[in-house]
């Protein structure tokens, strides 16, 4: 390789490495501020003030869903800890016991008053009859 | 290939799922958006190429 090209090759690598390093720092700094969701266990370990809007994700604990008109009370679990959620509104179609859920709301005396309930599904796709066979 | 998932054209249009929800609106609107976006992109490039070819001549 000609020395001139070698120099340009080094420049290209320098650009790549420095931009990768720069964005790594940015992501590191944002990591604590961006609202990715907490699991119930993380919630208990990090004292969260009552007036802070938080996102909590996990599974809907089986047998915990209680409906009362438009009000719905259920528990989110990560199979170690769980937390009660109180939500007034319409839940998504995919919301069911034992499936993934992400809620957005405020903590209030160990209960989450949810403003939004979103269903989270996993990366598995299969026909319904195969699932019954399993 | 497996058999048809829907028994009639109207069933394929509404796409009712096992939980009773109709998903046809979502699937068909995405299909329409993809189709028209591709079509418009092709037409725009064909038109631009025609215009510049004329200019070069």
């Amino acid at each position: 390789m000609k020395p001139q090209r070698k120099r340009r090759l080094t420049t290209v690598f320098l650009i790549l490495i420095s931009s990768a390093f720069g964005s790594f720092l940015i992501i590191k700094a944002l990591d604590t501020n961006l609202d990715f969701f907490f699991t119930p266990s993380e919630l208990y370990s990090q004292n969260i003030p009552d007036n802070k809007r938080i996102k909590v994700g996990g599974m809907v604990l089986e047998g915990s869903v209680k409906r009362d008109k438009t009000n719905i009370i259920f528990e989110i679990t990560d199979y170690k800890n769980s937390i009660t959620v109180n939500f007034n509104g319409i839940v998504p179609d995919l919301f069911q016991e034992g499936s993934g859920v992400v809620v957005l709301g405020y903590m209030n005396k160990d209960v989450i008053l949810a403003e939004e309930v979103l269903a989270k599904h996993d990366e598995n796709y299969m026909p319904p009859n195969l699932e019954i066979e399993k | 290939m497996s058999k048809f998932a829907f028994n009639s054209i109207s069933e394929a249009f509404t796409m009712q799922s096992l939980n009773g929800q109709n998903h046809g609106l979502y699937v068909w609107s995405v299909l329409a958006i993809v189709f028209f976006t591709l079509l418009i992109t092709f037409l725009v490039y064909k038109y631009k190429l025609k215009k510049i070819s004329k200019k070069i001549k």
Partner: protein, 243 residues
Amino acid sequence: MIKKFIHQFASPKTYLFQVTRAYPYIFVISILIYIISIFWGLFLTPEDFVQGNSYRIIYLHVPASFISQALYGGMAIASAIFLIWKVKLSAYLVKSIAPIGAMTTFIALISGSIWGIPTWGTWWAWDARIVSTLILFIMYLGLISLHDSFANYEKADKFLAVLVLVGSVNIPIIKMSVEWWSTLHQSASITISDKPTIDPSMLYPLFGSMIGFTGIVVCLVILSSKLHIFVREKNKSWIKDYV
């Protein structure tokens, strides 16, 4: 010999003649594969056990998302080749891929939003995967307007190539966002290392739609690069003969 071959193909003239010859074949074959796969996916596959029929959007959403990342990868490689070896054709390609990439990212975002309504219960979430894809879309638009804002093409090429390389860090971030952070978006169903988590009856049309869509996008890149070569080389004598 290889060197001679590369040099020849790297000339815009040879490139133009070769792709014009290949274009109709790629176009017909990829359109056929795409239509068959979409028909198969939308009507011949069973519905999903969780998402029901709404999962069928996968056949339209995944190819577009995949291609919008792959096109950026292509742009980054072309940029490196241009910066190191000063191949003019690769600078042309960088400029021509950008609008097509913006178009496919647009499809990926819109189809993902519509898919989110029946499954997640929302059309938009500030989720790592979605935000990084939105950044990709904005980057494509920025690169297009940046190149257009220069009066001097040579300067524009160089600047564009450097910025494409800087922005390429976003691609692994998009790829890994669903692994690194807890996101609403599910993890990848098709990976190189593990068995796909999609039932085979649903997987084959998905591969077909990805191959077909890739071919269609290649056709669009050919048209776009043709246009840009016409713009850049319009004063050359061979262009007049070609047209």
